[in-house]
């Protein structure tokens, strides 16, 4: 794994903003802008969504992206597409071992009820709705997310297992916006399965011109 110090984003990147553990955030990106998501402690999954800024009904779709990429999971140079099959986000840099997930739904209140979680457990689905609400957007669906850093093992017989992330502290992914879009992130609050290794932690993100 890459050394945590060398994995830090280059100093000419914009200012880092903290996305607190268990929380979500939505922001606007213009076409050509980049966002870097830094896994500060290496062990945090970040559910990631993107919506066309001028049409909330067009959004990054994992089921359309898999068909476009002919891969289960994107790597550097791969472009995710929308439900209208248009490019929306490209992975332009990835200092992690490249383990991300496109298969698993965002966690939600029903998931934590089934797992015996406490009443009102934070969840990525509500985080998305809250984050979109904070920028004035209501009524969006919850697309299947791009789960950055999430380690879902797929066996040759098709069985899957939820494992801890393999990224090292400070490793990061940089995404380029392929259209004007709304990006939403959720630092996954899952603490009843080992998907966030150490338990939920803060991550950082940096928007670059």
């Amino acid at each position: 794994m890459q050394n945590a110090t060398t994995a830090q984003p280059a100093p000419d990147h914009g200012a880092a903003v903290t996305l607190p553990a268990r929380k979500g955030k939505a922001l606007f990106l213009t076409e050509g802008q980049h966002i870097t998501i830094v896994n500060r402690f290496g062990s945090q999954v970040v559910d990631t969504w993107a919506f066309n800024r001028s049409d909330i009904n067009e959004f990054m779709s994992m089921e359309h992206s898999r068909a476009a990429m002919l891969k289960l999971s994107p790597a550097i140079g791969d472009t995710m597409v929308t439900n209208y099959r248009r490019p929306i986000l490209t992975i332009v840099e990835d200092t992690t071992p490249g383990i991300h997930d496109t298969l698993i739904a965002a966690c939600d209140r029903y998931r934590y009820q089934q797992l015996g979680g406490r009443e009102g457990h934070e969840n990525c689905t509500d985080n998305l709705a809250i984050a979109l609400g904070e920028i004035g957007i209501e009524g969006a669906v919850t697309p299947s997310p791009l789960n950055l850093f999430m380690n879902i093992e797929t066996a040759s017989d098709g069985r899957i297992a939820f494992l801890a992330p393999v990224s090292a502290p400070g490793q990061y992914v940089t995404l380029r916006a392929e259209m004007d879009l709304i990006l939403a992130l959720s630092a996954c609050p899952q603490d009843l399965l080992p998907v966030n290794g150490l338990g939920p932690t803060d991550v950082d993100f940096i928007v670059q011109p």
Copy 2:
């Protein structure tokens, strides 16, 4: 592969209805009812969706079902769940080799535009909307479908490939409704990729008490 004659549904099943090649159909099932989808020629993919009959916003979700099943694709005894993580359909019988797909989006007008298809090419996304409209339902989203009989090969490196179905003529899958629901089927009109081996064909379905 199973002999086509022995693969025919038992004679006590209900009357077979033809779903014409390239077309969609939606119908109501009550909890506990079964539907058998017969691949008459063995080579036809059938995109399958299910919606809670009393709440169109709750629907069978592949990304939630994979998390529930811990499998990429369901087999006999596996239950698909909704976006609210409730059981909705169970595979109770499957005389095919068990190759189905949960990874790939329904085809749509954009897909055929990109593949150079003719103007107005039929597609599973529009088939779903038309079929729901025929029973008076408007405004549903297009969930990622359960693609019965679809043969998406997944390599150990995560690369995927679109192949022809491996089912034999007359082989079938039987699903049990786990709630009162709307079931929608589309005999996939894809004729520019080899997913429907011989090209689009009719299939049959049988609703049983």
